[in-house]
């Protein structure tokens, strides 16, 4: 053999050896198959990402959302930043503006009203941040909405009101307790209810006032309404905690057996307690813990989607269920003892 041939043979052996070695090295991943690749892709999309969360305040509902989100995100290695605006809209606007400057990967907001954050949410998406809106939407549509279909909730609860107060079963006089008048949740629910009430001439809405989510204010309004309309049949309230004040006012006026309280709420334990005590007549409940899971799901989906922020508008509507007796307790969530 000539030298040249020798060299070629050696080169051939060398090549074969390196191919074998490469195959050996690559073997474990190939051997694990597609399921591990999925997890790898998942981790790659999620690990080290930041989610900025701006609730209206840290109430029972928001705390539950936060708790569930944090559990999930911790598990996936996502960082969650929370800043409490404590019911001050100017602070919340500021918070969201600050968030945009800090460039998180996902922005989760609960809008105090439909206009306040409208411009900022658009700006956030333009800046490449996914925006998820929770339960209280804005005039600006974003990547995802997680929460109730407030208008549908209003329609359903209004039908129940008509069932119990309309058509001669009661005086037909109804008072509506709104939350924050321009908050999507309150505004849409009220509008949904009004559309239904308009179809039934036996129903007369005698009052519709915002309570700013405040039980004391709801109590004051209810007291006044009861004095002005002693024949009142029902109160439609958009949210549980504020309704506690209204129920108290009804009790104080000794009209507990005459006035029925219809409420839509987020399933916090106190809502079911009040219903079981007879303070509420019917509670259209959605569970905050379930919503918390859905928010986390929406965030995870966005992070894995590869879409450009603002490209799509996906909705995850929560399905509510009626709580009318002790047996419906499962539609309220319970707060784990070790939750802070």
């Amino acid at each position: 053999m000539t030298r040249a041939v020798h060299r070629r043979v050696f080169a051939g052996i060398g090549l074969a050896a390196s191919v074998v070695i490469a195959a050996l090295v690559a073997a474990p991943s190939q051997a694990a198959g597609p399921r591990d690749q999925l997890r790898e892709k998942f981790d790659k999309a999620l690990k080290g990402k930041t989610v900025a969360w701006s609730p209206v305040w840290m109430g029972v509902l928001e705390s539950e959302w936060t708790r569930v989100m944090k559990d999930r995100f911790d598990d996936y290695g996502i960082k969650l930043i929370t800043r409490d605006a404590n019911m001050k809209s100017d602070i919340q606007l500021q918070t969201v503006s600050d968030y945009i400057n800090e460039k998180p990967d996902v922005l989760v907001v609960q809008n105090p009203n439909v206009t306040l954050l409208a411009k900022e949410l658009k700006r956030a998406m333009d800046a490449g941040i996914y925006v998820v809106q929770v339960n209280m939407a804005s005039n600006t549509l974003s990547d995802a909405y997680v929460g109730v279909d407030a208008k549908d909730l209003g329609t359903k609860i209004a039908r129940e009101v008509i069932n119990q107060c309309g058509g001669g079963k009661g005086s037909g006089e109804i008072a509506i307790l709104e939350g924050e008048a321009t908050a999507a949740y309150s505004l849409d629910m009220k509008n949904g209810a009004m559309e239904v009430f308009k179809t039934d001439p036996s129903i007369k809405v005698v009052s519709s006032q915002p309570t700013s989510w405040d039980a004391n204010k709801a109590g004051d309004i209810t007291t006044t309404v009861l004095q002005q309309h002693p024949k009142l049949c029902g109160i439609l309230s958009v949210w549980g905690p504020q309704t506690a004040g209204a129920a108290q006012a009804i009790k104080a006026a000794n009209m507990g057996d005459k006035v029925k309280v219809f409420v839509a709420s987020d399933g916090q334990p106190a809502d079911c307690d009040l219903l079981e005590q007879g303070a509420f007549s019917a509670n259209l409940s959605y569970r905050a813990d379930v919503q918390g899971q859905t928010i986390a799901d929406a965030v995870i989906a966005l992070l894995q989607s590869g879409d450009k922020p603002g490209a799509k508008n996906v909705a995850y509507y929560t399905t509510p269920a009626w709580v009318k007796s002790k047996d419906d307790r499962m539609y309220c969530f319970s707060i784990p003892k070790d939750a802070k």
Binding site: W57, K88, S97, L187, N191
Partner: protein, 703 residues
């Protein structure tokens, strides 16, 4: 060691501290420091706090709160309070949204209408408070409640419209989120507003009147200020500024919620108090209100950014505000006391034992009775003739405590007339070549009176010492003067640290607080010739016209400063260690000089001057009426010559008729004696003196 101690007392840091505390800008030092501290603290704690984006957000979010604080400041400075600012702000926010975005009025019209609304609310407040004499607190509280209730009604009535508003024109967006040179528009508006209102309140008459009415309504009324109109205008301003804030807020937020403006009046009030603006009115600045608001805003937003829960944030801010306000109130209240305690900074002065003044001791200072039988002129017709002077027609001029120059007509000086009224406390007198009577006036400067009695200002300021914190360009305590042959006016400023009434405190310091100043009437330029002189008092141009003699009261020295000849520009001590505290110096007919002793040295006081620590303790620890005081209950004048030799003295033992002599003037064989606190002018005949000699001729020759 001693020299070290001396140096310490000479350049005491206390001196700096005292003058620092005296600065008016030291009053808001607490809010100012706190603003910086809070900012720096968050800059350290919050990552990326100092990035351009973050700073812009801070400014953008702060502006309206700053404006509402300014609105509140207007009412508080006028001596009242405007609790309705938060509600007016919220209503203006709604009105701006409604008129512009729902009704569709043009933007300028909207802005004008909304500001008019704010002014109208202010007019209701101001009208009730100023003309109806209602209490500001209750009045504005009622307006707050009414406007707030109206706000709640209209926002409910227009819920659907408000919920569906979309951002308006690009101008509107620019107002809300635009920037100029990187600064948000609303912040620019706040800056212009703050500077403008500051200028208004400090430089423009109606604004100054607001401050005046706030300080003292009664005094303002007596000064001819229309108190009612001023109060009314303060509330109108307050309402208008709150409305302006509402417009900018509307452009930025595009929403009108139930929480809009809620509690803002409390924040604004807290800002005003935190800024150190007195709730009693009249004291404070717009800048302080803005600082107070900035502190509150930064605390709130910073803690939110740190992720602290809302309730805790509120509690922490409450505690910080309570502490800061408490501390600040104490500071504002006690700053004067602290200043009083640290301001007086005694220095170290060593004295040799002086020549004896004992009767029969044989020294030229030996006590005698030569002034005892001085004839009293103008008895009880004059108060405090610190200096006396006679003109070519022998009329006698003197200064009076009330700020006027009094003339007693020759030959018997029985007729008293007010020659001129200038004000301040006139002290040293001198005639210039044109027979203008020049006078040093404590607190004002140097003035002159022409023979036709018209008053003119010679000078009231000199060059400022650049290395000194205190602005010493204004003349504090011009004391005595004389006119050099070239017409230049040399005058002493006894102290740049104390006013005339506090001369004794300057004595306790024994420090070089004074200056020799020269004013050139030809160019109008005033310049400091010598500084750091220890209470320079009497000034006299020597007979040859080549030097200025000046007396240092607390060092008991006569000094000579050469203004002509080979030694021009240098100075020397002519006589040291005199037994008395020197005052005015004037020419004598025999080529010598008369010197008045305002008081005599005592061993005890000399000892005290050697011990600055003792004097500091004295000033700090015992009441003024128990302080050691230089002995001024003597009457003594001496004569010295150009060689610094004292040749004779004239005494009024015990100072029965002439204590505290500050001036001796020779005229036609007589000596005229004036005293700082006296009720007369003394005159004695001088044996052997030239009966035709008069100072004016000595200076300027025969007319």
């Amino acid at each position: 060691m001693k020299s070290l101690q001396r140096a310490w007392h000479r350049h005491s840091p206390q001196l700096f501290l005292g003058e620092l505390l005296e600065k008016r800008w030291m009053e808001p030092i607490i809010p100012f420091t706190l603003t910086i501290a809070v900012f720096l603290a968050f800059a350290v704690m919050i990552p990326r706090y100092l990035t351009a984006g973050s700073l812009q957000e801070l400014m953008r979010n702060f502006a309206e709160q700053g404006m509402v604080a300014v609105a509140m400041a207007f009412s508080v400075l006028s001596g009242g309070i405007d609790l309705s600012v938060g509600a007016v702000f919220a209503m203006s926010n709604f009105l701006a949204l409604y008129l512009y975005l729902i009704v569709g009025l043009p933007l300028p019209v909207t802005i004008v209408l909304v500001i008019l609304f704010g002014a109208a609310m202010g007019a209701i407040n101001g009208g009730l408070i100023a003309y109806g004499k209602t209490r500001p607190f209750l009045t504005t509280l009622v307006v707050l409640i009414i406007v707030r209730a109206a706000y709640n009604k209209v926002t409910v009535a227009f819920t659907n419209e408000l919920a569906s508003i979309d951002s308006g024109s690009s101008t509107w967006d620019f107002m809300g989120s635009g920037r100029v040179l990187g600064i948000p528009v609303n912040m620019l508006v706040l800056m212009f507003l703050a500077v403008g209102t500051h200028f208004f309140l400090t430089r423009v008459k109606p604004g100054v009147h607001i401050m005046a009415v706030g300080s003292s309504r009664k005094a303002a009324r007596h000064a001819g200020v229309n108190v009612k109109r001023v109060l009314f205008s303060a509330y109108v301003m307050s309402g208008s500024v709150a409305a302006l804030a509402g417009i900018l807020y509307a452009a930025r937020q595009s929403s009108s919620g139930t929480d809009t403006g809620v509690g803002w009046e409390i924040n604004a009030l807290a800002a005003v108090v935190l800024g150190g603006i007195s709730l009693a009115g009249g004291r404070g600045t717009i800048a302080r209100a803005v600082m107070g608001a900035a502190i509150i805003f930064m605390l709130t937003s910073g803690m939110v950014r740190l992720g602290i829960s809302g309730n805790l944030t509120t509690a922490i801010i409450g505690i910080i505000l309570l502490l800061a306000v408490g501390f600040n109130v104490k500071w504002v209240k006690n700053k004067g006391k602290v200043l009083q305690k640290v301001y007086v900074t005694p220095s170290w002065v060593d004295f040799e034992p002086p020549p004896s003044v004992e009767r029969g001791s044989g020294t030229p200072f030996a006590e005698n009775d030569r002034l005892k039988n001085a004839e009293a002129i103008a008895l009880n017709m004059i108060e405090g003739p610190e200096d006396v002077i006679l003109d070519r027609k022998d009329n006698l001029y003197t200064v009076n405590r009330n700020g006027s120059i009094i003339r007693f007509l020759a030959p018997d000086y029985a007729v008293r007339e007010e020659f001129a009224r200038i004000g301040g406390r006139p002290l040293g007198l001198a005639f210039d070549r044109d027979q203008n009577l020049l006078v040093c006036i404590a607190g004002m400067g140097v003035y002159g009176v022409k023979p036709d009695r018209s008053v003119f200002k010679v000078t009231d300021r000199t060059t400022r010492t650049r290395t000194r914190l205190k602005d010493d360009s204004r003349l504090y305590l011009a004391d005595d003067l004389d006119v050099a042959p070239d017409g230049n006016i040399y005058f002493s400023e006894a102290s740049t640290r104390y006013e005339l009434t506090d001369w004794a405190l300057d004595g306790f310091e024994g420090r070089g607080n004074g200056r020799l100043i020269c004013h050139d009437p030809k160019t109008g330029i005033t310049r400091t010739v010598l500084k750091n002189l220890t209470f320079p008092n009497g000034i006299c141009i020597s007979h040859d016209g080549q030097s200025v003699l000046w007396a240092s009261t607390w060092l008991c020295q006569i000094n000579r400063y050469w203004i002509a000849g080979p030694k021009a520009g240098t100075s020397e001590v002519l006589i040291d260690n005199l037994p008395g505290y020197c005052d005015n110096i004037n020419r004598a007919s025999d080529g010598k000089y008369w010197l008045a002793f305002v008081g005599l040295r005592t061993p005890v006081y000399d000892l005290a001057m050697r011990n600055p620590v003792f004097r500091t303790r004295m000033v700090k620890q015992i009441p003024p009426d128990e302080w050691l005081c230089p002995g001024i209950n003597y009457g003594c004048v001496v004569k010295f010559d150009d060689n610094g030799v004292v040749t004779e003295s004239l005494w009024d033992p015990g100072g029965l008729s002439h204590p505290t002599i500050t001036s001796v003037r020779e005229h036609k064989g007589h000596l005229y004696i004036g005293g700082l606190e006296n009720n007369r002018i003394g005159r004695i005949r001088l044996e052997g003196a030239d009966p035709n000699w008069e100072a004016h001729v000595s200076y300027w020759g025969r007319a």
